[in-house]
Amino acid sequence: MSSSLEKNMLILRSSDGEEFIVPEVVAVMSKAIKNMVEDECASNTIPVPNVDANILAMVIEFCKKHDESEAEAASDLKTFDSEFVNRGQEALYDLITAANFRDVKELLDALCQNVAEMIKGKSVHHIRIQFLGYQLFEILTSNFIWNIWCDRDFD
């Protein structure tokens, strides 16, 4: 397979063994991969441990879009970003971990910003429901003394 691989293409192998053929320019948006390529310690197939196929596919989708759309309007990219990061929390966190591990700064920033948006302008109560769920919340309130000053002054 690698023999038929075009020049400037890399193969990324996810933790669960799936392989993705990706243009080098896209792959090196991950600083971690870029370093490997630059140090020439990478063969054509680069293992991406800790990131499963599902998440890796998403990361690649993001990088491809950002690579292609360099010439495109920034607003289009913004729209894409906001749709891209609009996912369930689990997927978001997995993506953050992957983006951090692979060192894809743009993706990481967009994702963290997205989580932050879930907090911005929300009441303490709302944030608890969003991130902790009701039951935990009920246990918490029993001995959570600083509610008293926080809620009074800042809610």
Binding site: N100, I119, W146, C150
Partner: protein
């Protein structure tokens, strides 16, 4: 229903940090710190409130921060381990900065001049004292109320007015200056300046604060007695007799409590002597004092500034809104009374400005002059 999960438990610490650092509104960060013990611990242990505060107000990074030793560390005594002492300190710092950053970003600006300190020059003292600029009226007790500089043949000579604002830590958003229209002079000249600039700072030596900034002579320049830590841009002023508002690009913390108004460039020549003057009838400084929850002290001998946080005041309800008004009001009333008394005394002593004190208007021998105030 979608699974809800706490990113603090899922993500590596620096990722969570990244998320919390994306919160640039203090209210969001403070609310987040109240979500759960682990969130609270995270925000506190990483000093996120302090970081946000310094990010929003970089001026504060030059100030050391302390809390009053009497409070905050009480609980640690019975626990006894150094860790918990450290933690108590972090907790206190968190609360102090949470309170500070919140106070600095959410308030309704009010006039916060406490008193006039000094003018770089005064043509006639006390008739044309800087004290007059605290009164919005341009006539008090049938006399003109304004400050006038000395006359200069060079229109580029600047003047400065120095004021004390309420408290030693005050956030200021807007400064207004009303140039004086000399309604008793022919042609009603307006003695405005070309532009204004503002500086904020603290006394150079600690003695100046503690002893008596109030006793600095009002009519003598005092600019060298202060260290100005903030200088605004230059704002153009128009030659019109209304309260001209100069909004600072962003709220500025006046650390030390002193404000200087620099009046740059003279535009009006006085007909009688051909000299350029600057006259101001009223000055207003809009902002919010953080006293008594916060105070700034000059440290001897280093001259370093110390920001003091007094949590007890915070807890006895809203220090932001209630404490200031009575203070300011009584100060103003005192000023009014003193000023009235001063004028009365002057008149009784026959010191009302008249010809005898004027060295220029020899050919002006009209009786009406008694009503005129020399510039």
């Amino acid at each position: 229903m979608e699974a809800r999960c706490d990113f603090l438990q899922w993500l590596q610490m620096d990722m969570s940090l990244n998320i919390f650092m994306s919160l640039d509104d203090p209210s969001d960060l403070i609310r987040a710190s109240a979500v759960s013990p682990s969130w609270h611990h995270f925000v506190t242990a990483n000093g996120l409130c302090k970081q946000l505060c310094l990010r929003l107000f970089p001026q504060l990074s030059s100030v050391s921060f302390v809390t009053e030793p009497s409070c905050g560390l009480k609980k640690s005594a019975d626990v006894g381990s150094s860790n918990s002492v450290e933690w108590e300190a972090l907790e206190m710092e968190h609360r102090a900065y949470a309170f500070l950053v919140r106070a600095l970003t959410t308030f309704t600006p009010k006039d916060c001049i406490a008193e006039a300190i000094s003018a770089s020059s005064t043509d006639n003292f006390p008739e044309e004292s800087i004290q007059n600029t605290l009164d919005p009226r341009d006539r008090v007790l049938r006399r003109a109320s304004y400050w006038s500089s000395k006359g200069q043949s060079d229109p580029s000579v600047p003047e400065t007015l120095i004021y004390k604002v309420t408290g030693n830590l005050c956030v200021i958003t807007e400064i207004s200056v009303q140039p004086f229209l000399a309604y008793f002079q022919p042609g009603f000249p307006i003695y405005s300046a070309q532009s204004v600039r503002f500086r904020m700072g603290h006394p150079r030596s600690p003695e100046d604060v503690e002893s008596d900034p109030r006793n600095l002579p009002l009519q003598h320049p005092a600019d060298d007695k202060f260290i100005w830590t903030y200088t605004s841009q230059e704002f153009p002023m128009t030659q019109e007799n209304y309260l001209q508002k100069f909004q600072l690009p962003e709220p500025v913390i006046c650390i030390g409590g002193f404000l200087q108004i620099e009046l740059l460039g003279r535009v009006q020549r006085q007909e009688m002597d051909g000299l350029f003057y600057i006259c101001v009838s009223y000055v207003e400084v809009m902002g919010q004092s953080l006293f008594p929850a916060f105070d700034v002290k000059n440290l001897e001998p280093s001259g370093k500034l110390l920001l003091k946080y007094n949590p007890e005041v915070q807890h006895c309800a809203s220090p932001i809104s209630s404490y200031r008004q009575p203070l300011a009001t009584s100060a103003n009333m005192l000023h009014d009374n003193l000023r009235g008394l001063e004028l009365l005394l002057n008149m009784l002593h026959g010191n009302a400005p008249d010809h005898e004190h004027n060295d220029w208007d020899d050919d002006d021998d009209n009786d009406n002059d008694l009503d005129l105030v020399p510039m």
